[in-house]
Amino acid sequence: MASRQELSDFLESVERRAFKQAVYAVRDDDAALDIVQDAMFKLAEKYADKPPAELPLLFQRILQNVIHDHFRRQKVRNLWTTLLSSLQPDDDEGSERDPLDALEVEGDARAGESAAQLVERDQILRIIDAEVQKLPTRQREAFVMRYWQEMDVAETAIAMGCSEGSVKTHCSRATHALAEALKARGITL
């Protein structure tokens, strides 16, 4: 059974990756934050009594379900909002922006890098992010769980609800697609 501290440590260790994973899927920061929060709540509420070793797979499964629920709800919502959207003025998104978003805290390890190197690295990371986001959904899910969340093939298959063979195929295709896309943009890793 996971103690409160173990549960807290686990959530802290996965929250950023879970957020990125949700952003890749829904392409909206606020929706992704809601999804991660929802997944955290469900894990804490229903599965806090599980052993710590089981938490990563449970959390991935919950996260995937919450993302799918988001798309289901969005489908229903879109039916109404498309009908009513023409009656509402456009929101000024600029006025809602938090000035703190512009601040990025750099670690000590980056202190020695020049501004040009930092900008270049930042651009590369953004391109990689964008290319991962562009992958077909199932390929991206398999790649992220298998290689970023470091789940094994069997765990990834359970979390995705498919066979292990499908996971291997998705991962292989995702890797090749990413490699080609990055090569085309002149990025070598």
Binding site: R4, L11, R16, L33, D49, L103, L125, W148, T175
Partner: protein
């Protein structure tokens, strides 16, 4: 470059990217985590990492009371209030009827205008008998 090596390079980039999340996002994630922990089942909050094998806690799948129990818990007090209000209403009506009957009887007796038919009423006869005692 093989698949695993390439994937590990991508993982490093994604980790670095996750470390550069905006302050607003990291703050919100922290708040969500703390809220989730506060929402955690009590068993998890009580258990400690130092608890040894002897201190194992058996946890059933779902310790919350069943829907029937929750419905009864919520329904019984409401039912009691409704029954209580109905009882008060009936008692109040009976009191009013008794007062009215008493007043009417007193008026009839004082004016000596009691209809003959009234003496044939069994209940009126009992009333007269009781009031004389």
């Amino acid at each position: 470059m093989n698949e695993h090596l390439f994937a590990s390079r991508i993982r490093q980039a994604l980790d670095e990217s996750a470390e550069r999340l905006p302050y607003r996002v990291t703050q919100r994630l922290e708040r969500a985590r703390l809220a989730a922990l506060a929402h955690a089942r009590p068993e998890a909050a009580v258990a400690t990492a130092s608890a040894g094998p002897a201190a194992t806690v058996t946890v059933s799948g779902d310790d919350r009371p069943s829907v029937l129990v929750r419905l009864l818990t919520a329904g019984v007090p409401i039912l009691l209030v409704v029954v209580g209000l109905y009882g008060i209403s009936v008692w109040d009506d009976a009191q009013r009827a008794a007062e009215t009957a008493d007043i009417d009887a007193q008026l009839m007796l004082s004016d000596d205008e009691v209809p003959i038919a009234a003496y044939a009423d069994r209940g009126f006869g009992v009333y007269i008998k009781n009031s004389r005692q």
